[in-house]
Symmetry: D2
Subunit: 345 residues, 4 copies
């Protein structure tokens, strides 16, 4: 089979760079174009030095894009939708890594993104790029809107119990610890190393935008509340979700629910070990991988369940599930290009 030609728009950021890293290792993909207005003319290894020896490509300008088989948009929020006409004709398959086409409800979009959707007529063409929830729709999909990173960690933690209608109708609290790479490659006061190192900052105590994705994707209309904390690490999100099970619903039942819903998922690992230091999910252990590790603990006295999930925000949270979604869309083996096992220690 000849490889699909891939172009990346906005390839100097972390999301684009991560797609590039994964695609260079994918047997069915060939990266042929990567754009960066700021770095046009430079080798892409100037910005992504981990790829030295792996590619000789140089950044080009967006204006110099030529048709490809797959176009990946890795642009700041709003750009993909506002400028979609210049991308639409360039490729049969388009993957957007931004939030632009994730939300189907235009009012919900407006509430969380503070503006009318720039291209409302296009929204319905896009499949929400979460393979665990939308595998069937992804088959053959030509427009894939990749899920948000914090949203993914929260949705995957909550989905099984909510889908099965298990929780009591009480408030569900979701807290996420998010690494600095999630804020992107542009230097800023918040990500200045002397300030960020060793620091924990609640950056969205309430009102995190990714709530819109949870609202859309999770069944059951449970009251869900998000709090997001910026931690002193680079990659990874650890999410804890607190919810309540009915009397008589045991830890074994919780286990069964996760097994029922995720039993054959290639990238979800149920982590619950009785001893040692690795008893629960830890974002360190999935760094660089497409895994979402999920664990849980039940407080029988109060009926509280704490579900924990860990992902790499740039892989399972962005570029990895983009690749996974593309594999599904193309009818390929779902794990192609996503084989990296992660490091320890």
């Amino acid at each position: 089979m000849s490889k699909l030609k891939v172009g990346i728009v906005g390839g100097s950021g972390y999301a684009g760079g991560e797609f590039l890293r994964l695609a260079l290792n994918h047997p069915n993909l060939e990266i042929t174009q990567v754009t960066s207005e700021r770095n046009a003319g430079d080798p892409i290894t100037f910005v992504h030095p981990n790829l030295r020896g792996r590619t000789n490509l140089k950044f080009r300008r967006m204006a110099d894009l030529e048709p490809v088989d797959v176009l990946v948009l890795a642009l700041p929020h709003g750009n993909a939708a506002k400028r979609f006409s210049q991308f639409a004709g360039l490729a049969d398959t388009i993957i957007d890594l931004s939030a632009d086409f994730r939300i189907k409800d235009l009012d919900l979009y407006k509430k969380y993104y503070n503006e009318d959707h720039p291209a409302p007529e296009l929204v319905d063409q896009w499949v929400y790029g979460n393979p665990e929830l939308h595998r069937e729709e992804l088959k053959g999909a030509k427009r894939i809107a990749c899920a948000g990173c914090f949203a993914t960690s929260a949705i995957l933690a909550l989905y099984p119990l909510l889908k099965l209608g298990v929780p009591q109708p009480k408030d569900i609290i979701v807290t996420g610890l998010v690494g600095s790479s999630a804020a992107g490659a542009s230097a800023s006061a918040a990500s200045h190393h002397p300030e960020r190192d060793n620091s924990y900052r609640v950056y969205a105590a309430t009102g995190h935008r990714h709530y819109a994705e949870l609202h859309q994707e999770l069944p059951g209309n449970f009251p869900i509340h998000l709090t997001a904390i910026a931690g002193p690490h680079v990659r990874g999100i650890l999410t804890t979700a607190q919810l309540w099970i009915p009397d008589g619903y045991s830890e074994r039942d919780v286990w069964g629910a996760f097994r029922e819903v995720y039993g054959s998922e290639p990238f979800i690992r149920i982590v619950k070990v009785r001893k040692g230091i690795h008893r629960y999910p830890d974002p360190k252990l999935v760094s660089g991988t497409n895994y979402c590790d999920i664990g849980f603990e039940v407080d029988q006295e109060s009926g509280r369940v704490v579900v924990m999930s860990a992902i790499d925000n740039l892989v399972k949270g962005t570029a990895g599930h983009a690749i996974q979604s593309l594999n599904i869309a193309q009818g390929w083996e779902e794990t192609l290009g996503l084989e990296f096992a992660g490091l320890h220690p």
Copy 2:
């Protein structure tokens, strides 16, 4: 005034070492004895190298303790109570940094510490060492049982609204991010640097022992649930507490509640800034200090309040509020020896 002579039992650990650091800088205290069975005969700077040039004291054995004015017990859990007869006659004032004498309800103690209390007849002699809640009782106190570190961060975050009876009777979720120094100075698999660096591990999803302190200290019998996460930092706890306010209770009212209860507290700072990167409490900024920084954010739509608190677990969480409690007990200026402002960056 002549200085009070102070002895520290178990001075090679982090809690004892921190008391030592603060006491060496206290105008009314003079450290005369520090014990460590393992390091007896070594200079204390061998274990606490930050104190080089500040003291020539050497560790001695517990058996060699002589009477002092103030005895500080910094022993592993259970030791202070089980061996109290050997300490009781040595000093007029005794401060225990362990959990042994914090809990007044013996059943509660048993539930969370998995054994009958070793010295139930002594429990009532001790004042719970939280200056903000027990200032009056601390005046003249001779037995001070210092509050736990995670408990302190949670209690100080929740106390004002609970004392004023504000929250709705819904579940309150408290999540703490705890640094590695809280697990003590003994090397262990969980604190092995290659494992702990860059890692987030939920170590008490449910059932954290410090719940016993919250149950005892917080008014109103609200259902409170704790989750504790070990983070990749050394010092500090960031705690978020999620609770619900009634309709009509505004962010301004929350502010008023905190001001009313903590308005004149020397070590509590209400942190709520509208712009910039330091909008809320951050444990990095209180490292080495006795401050508890507290902030909050209200989601008007759901009535949810997120209260955040940040402390240094070894200072405001242990040795610092021990000194603060002692200052109160002795009738001294409450801030003596606790003047360090913290570093930035």
Copy 3:
């Protein structure tokens, strides 16, 4: 081709675990046995949680080892040599990751390892496992003694100029920054997270054992001096080597020397970029990979050259060049199983 069966002795440490990670991803290798006396009976993922979903193997005792094609010894120093009789018959090919069989000169061994060599009659059977210097000898090799991690970073930095006889006969200073994983998986005071985090400790100002390897491997009898510093990171070594070139020898000549010696090496990248923040080697960028990145800068005024090299101590410094050496020994493609490109950021 059927896969070679591989056994790992001492598989609960970091070196053994890293070999396991790489071998599980190697098309020609099949791990069939992994020993750990302490964890016998436990799944290997209990110790190496990154491999969850990749293997169901359990640790067994060394006494239960059965014959394999390739046996990898990942034991503490001294054990491979002292107990070699129990391993010799188990496999046609044996790879030792310890220092036991690296040094051919028994006096040199004694000087740096403080004892007579436990098995002097075996030393000559072993090839020093550094592919860049010993590729020809490695072809068909049955006994491979993998090079030390700091030694590898220093040897690869110095080899080209020394081989070509370039430097002046002045003292060469080599300084290495070494991550905490190099000290192994056993918890210790030196690697206790509260102590190691944010800390820099010179642990071998003079007299580092790996000098023996430099002495043996580097041509020209130059006076070389090592200093090793423990840094607050987990993986990776950054080495700087300071040496002097003759008058008239330019930076272009240095470049030419490295190209001449390493021009076709699959795992050495010459890194020297004129602008940006990634101008020189950085261990962060080779983490998890088998690359050794090498750069240099010349001070024309003094004739000083600073050569920098960066490796992952567990990959190019241990398990990776073990795999690379094995690939060469078996006549396979040299890069098999070592394709991971590294992460950014």
Copy 4:
């Protein structure tokens, strides 16, 4: 005694902020003005949140400066000299934290700062602000040019042996590990947290500007060479200096040399412990303090001495020795305001 009124120009940077922190704790100083063009009108705690509760001052513009007793210039390089006429009349005592007035040799200045000195006629008025080398000149000084941070760590490591003429006339190699705070408070690609965390970058393999200070301050015209590495920590410099002693000069002699020269220095601690993990200087242990810890190790076989020094670049490397110099200039106790002992762990 009434306190001296102090103004800080450029108080939103890290150097100015650190001077502010120390001065607020100094019994003889009162901060009355702090300028920041960008933050004028904001409370200084907006930028330096560690000072919450310690000061209510707001930033003002430079144009609004009023006369004070002591003016501290904390401006980017070149500004103090170019704009000195606007500061000269504002205060009797002026302390410059930049490099502008450190170098007396105008050719040397030009070589390392790439321009003619902007105010050559003023250079001689300034005393180089290194208390250990210039204590006598500092007494009564009105113009103090504080020494550079890396320069200070290197000079203090080398001075005793060089002053006593001990080393052989061979090349001296100095390697410094420098934290991210040394690059200042402005966000940049090099200090972007995702890039800097966990990373080691040689940023001045050769040609570091601080060489000019070593050349000026160190006796004996020894050939000295600097290499500077940016490490993944925030505060602190660990410097290793490699030099050669003559035959017969023992480790005891080295000890004697350091004791002879630094015996009564209040902020230099000779650190050389035979056992344990804190055998040598570690920048972690001096963080926030004005100490310079110095240790050494001798390789008797080669005559090599490795001298190690550790400082906090913002304290002993900048604001701390500014305060120490001012204390000397004013005839005060040299340690005033600099009593903080440092934290462990």
